[in-house]
Structures are given as C-alpha cells and as structure tokens.
C-alpha cells in the first residue's frame, strides 16, 4: 500500500504509523470521553483515518480510504483537516 503524504508524495505504508478513525474529536464534556476514547463506527467503506509519517516528515495526515478495497481517495494534513 502507498500512502500519498502531502509533504513527501507517495510513500510505502511501512513508513507510517496507523491510528484509526479521524472522526472522533476530543470532547470538552467529561461524559463524552467514553465514546471518544472507545466507540468507533468502524465503517465498511470510505473512511477518513489518521496516519503518522513516523519515518518521514512526522506529519499526522488524514487519509480517505475504503476499508473494503483499500482504495485511497486522497490525503491532507491533519492540521489542515481540523480547520
């Protein structure tokens, strides 16, 4: 698998660390933390997910990828995605 890092271009997935679904946002209310930390939609299909280019530019990036086919539709820096 090749991950299209916005800084470094297409790179082997081996250079990245995977975290998971990019959707959960750290809440401010205490009672929302359980869902934030533990519950996942875990979709079969397109998913925005976080990858960390640990052996590259050290950017966290949001990759849109289909979990059924592994097809990658694009990627952006997590910093930009948050804006």
């Amino acid at each position: 698998m090749r991950i299209p890092c916005p800084f470094c271009g297409d790179r082997d997935a081996r250079e990245f660390v995977y975290r998971g679904d990019a959707a959960p946002r750290r809440p401010t209310a205490d009672d929302e933390f359980h869902d934030y930390v533990y519950l996942r939609a875990n979709p079969a299909g397109a998913m925005r997910e976080l990858w960390y280019h640990a052996q590259g530019c050290r950017s966290w990036i949001v990759v849109t990828r289909d979990t059924r086919t592994h097809e990658i539709f694009g990627a952006e820096l997590a910093k930009d995605a948050a804006r």
């Binding site: 996942r40 875990n42 079969a44």
Partner: protein, 418 residues
Amino acid sequence: MTRFSILSLMKNAASGHRNWQPTWRNATPRPDYDIIVIGGGGHGLATAYYLAKNHGISRVAVLEKGWIGGGNAGRNTTIIRSNYLLPGNEPFYEWSMKLWEGLEQDLNYNTMVSQRGVLNLCHSDAQRDAYARRGNAMRLHGADAVLLDRDGVRRIAPFLDFDQARFPVTGGLLQPRGGTARHDAVVWGFARGASDRGVDIVQNCEVTGFLRDAAGAVAGVETTRGTIRAGRIGMAVAGNSSRVAALAGFRLPIESHVLQAFVSEALKPVIPNVITFGAGHFYISQSDKGGLVFGGDIDRYNSYASRGNLPAVEDVCESGMAIMPMLGRVRMLRSWGGIMDMSMDGSPVIDRAPIDGLYVNAGWCYGGFKATPASGWCFAHLLATGNPHEAASAYRLDRFRTGHLIDERGAGAQPNLH
C-alpha cells in the same frame, strides 16, 4: 445421525461410501425461533450446540451469510492454549481448554485436538520475568505452565538460532497442554452436533436489519431469505461485529483489522510444537499434513478486505528467519487474511447489547479460535439464562465505561496494538 467410528467407516466403505448422509441439514429458515444466532462460524455453531445440549433449547436458527466456517473459523492458525495473564481472561480460556480436551468424544467428530505444547520464547530477563508472572497466574488458575531456561528450550527446539541471533533466546514459557486443532473440523463437528439436536443451520442468509417491538426490544431479523422472528438474538460475527451492531443502531469498542497467515509446502515432521518468537511477531506450528502454518502481526490498518499487504508478510518472514534460519529454503505456499474484531483492550465481549433481547459475542482479536468451545458454552448460558457465565463474567461491554479493563498487553485504547 450415523455415529462415526472405524466400524461405520468400514461398513460404508463396503457400500462404496454411497450411504453417508449430509454432515448437517442445510435448513430453510422457518418464520420464527426461540433464539437466533447470527453467524455460522465456530462461535455461533458452538453456541447453538450448547443451547441445545446444555439448555434444551433447540428451536434455534444459526444464520450464516455465506458458507459455515467461512470467516475466521476457517482462516486462523488453529492454535489452542490458555496461557493468559489476567484474572478476567485466564478462567475463561482454561475452561475452553478443558472443553477442547473432551470435544471429540462429546461431538463424535475428530477435530484433531493435538496437545503438542505451546512454547513462547523469551529473549531478556524482563521478558522472562513477565512470563514467570504469566506462568504463575496460569498455575493459580489451575492451568499448566513450565518456565524453561535456554537448555530446556534447546531440548525441545534444537533448530532455533541460539547463537547468531539479534535477540538470543534466553528461555521460554511452555504450556504442555496447548497445541492445535483442525479448524474446519471444529466447525463441521459443532454444526453436525447442533443440527442433530434440531438446530436449523441456514446458509447464504445475510442479516440486513433488526425488527423491534413497541418497547424497542429486538423481535427478529430481516434477512436476504426473508423475515425471521425471535425474542432473543445473539450475534457472533467477529470481524463484522460493527456492521451488525450498526444495523441495530449502536457502536462497539471494536475495529476490524486484517490478520494474514501462511502455510508452506508439505514437509516431513520438523517442528514438534507451537512456537512463538518473543522479539518479533511470529508463531509457527506444523499441520498434520506437513505444512508449516505461521503468522504474525495484523496489517495494522482498518480493513474488511480479507487480504493484506507485503509489509506484514515481510515482517513475519523476517521474524521466522531470525529465530529459525532453517526456514530460508521453505517455500510459502499460500496466504490468507482474516478480519479480526480488534477490541479496545484486546479482550472480548460476551454480554447483553444496549438493546433488549440482543446479545453480543465479539471482540476476539487474535484469540477467537481457541476460545470457540467456551465462547459457545458461555454465550449459550447468557442467551438461555440472561446471566453471564461465571467464566466469562469479566467480558462486559460496560467495562470501558467503568474502567475494569482486561488489557493483557497494556497497550491502551488502540486496537491495532493489541
């Protein structure tokens, strides 16, 4: 049902094997049942078997979207063991081991349970101490565990790299009662036993939605083969738990990840036990047919694709060569991928769902196959009585809310690290 034995085999041979009956009835779904089990894998079929056998409930349907045993039951590396550390896990897996030990006679089906021993190698003092902690915990729970030094390991596996290795072997933890079982036979044996007791096994029947009653409780399922009603529904669909949960409108602390496994060409017996490497992700055993069956870590990204990529293949082979340099000329024959329910603390869930009448059996991570008999036993108990079985009492869904986690690896809420 014909009782299987050498005599029945000889008798049927005399008639050209033309009189054998189907191993299980390929049922057409009835409109309603007492209990529906979603998922015709090892866990679902074992659940149905024990519902009928232990609880006398046989108006049960097992709904399988494809062919029985086509998910993780048929995609694992067939290892059975009960070498767990934490008190939430060890009683359950030890109970499973005890069920394995009598399974063939109970099912009258040779599942080829082979207690050849599971050896975990260690490579440092800290790892040895961690294994000691684990071995002591196993002993306290009535399981067997032997801590081996380097020479003890050498006696069992002289072909390991003791001298040139990057991470020299310093010893190991052996569970002599651990071993392997023939995975497909477990599925077929449970299917045969359940079917014989009246359970309907319905293949090519995918659940597409849940029926709810006025109070919001489940009342049945919509399937590709029509509506089927039941007041109690258990889901045992590891790999796809989140998808089924989504049909019922809730989320789980689970991600789906692909785990690859591999088999070599058939060789004369060379690896006597199940052996795991402690300085990399690698485990290996040899099937009765002669193929070396091995695997390692998950691919680490969410997937429903039942196939993986090269980095995981390379990692497994690197680890294999690091510890067993004789493997260099062994050829990998086939690879496959299974979709793991990777849970947030690395341990499973056997509990009520947040919806009345619905029950969840999920989150097995890598450990589903060895859990098959106990999972079925405990899930059947829960479905039949409404109460968790003692051996599975820690597998609650609310433990993530209460903080009573069962995290063997200490990896935290990151499913791909368990």
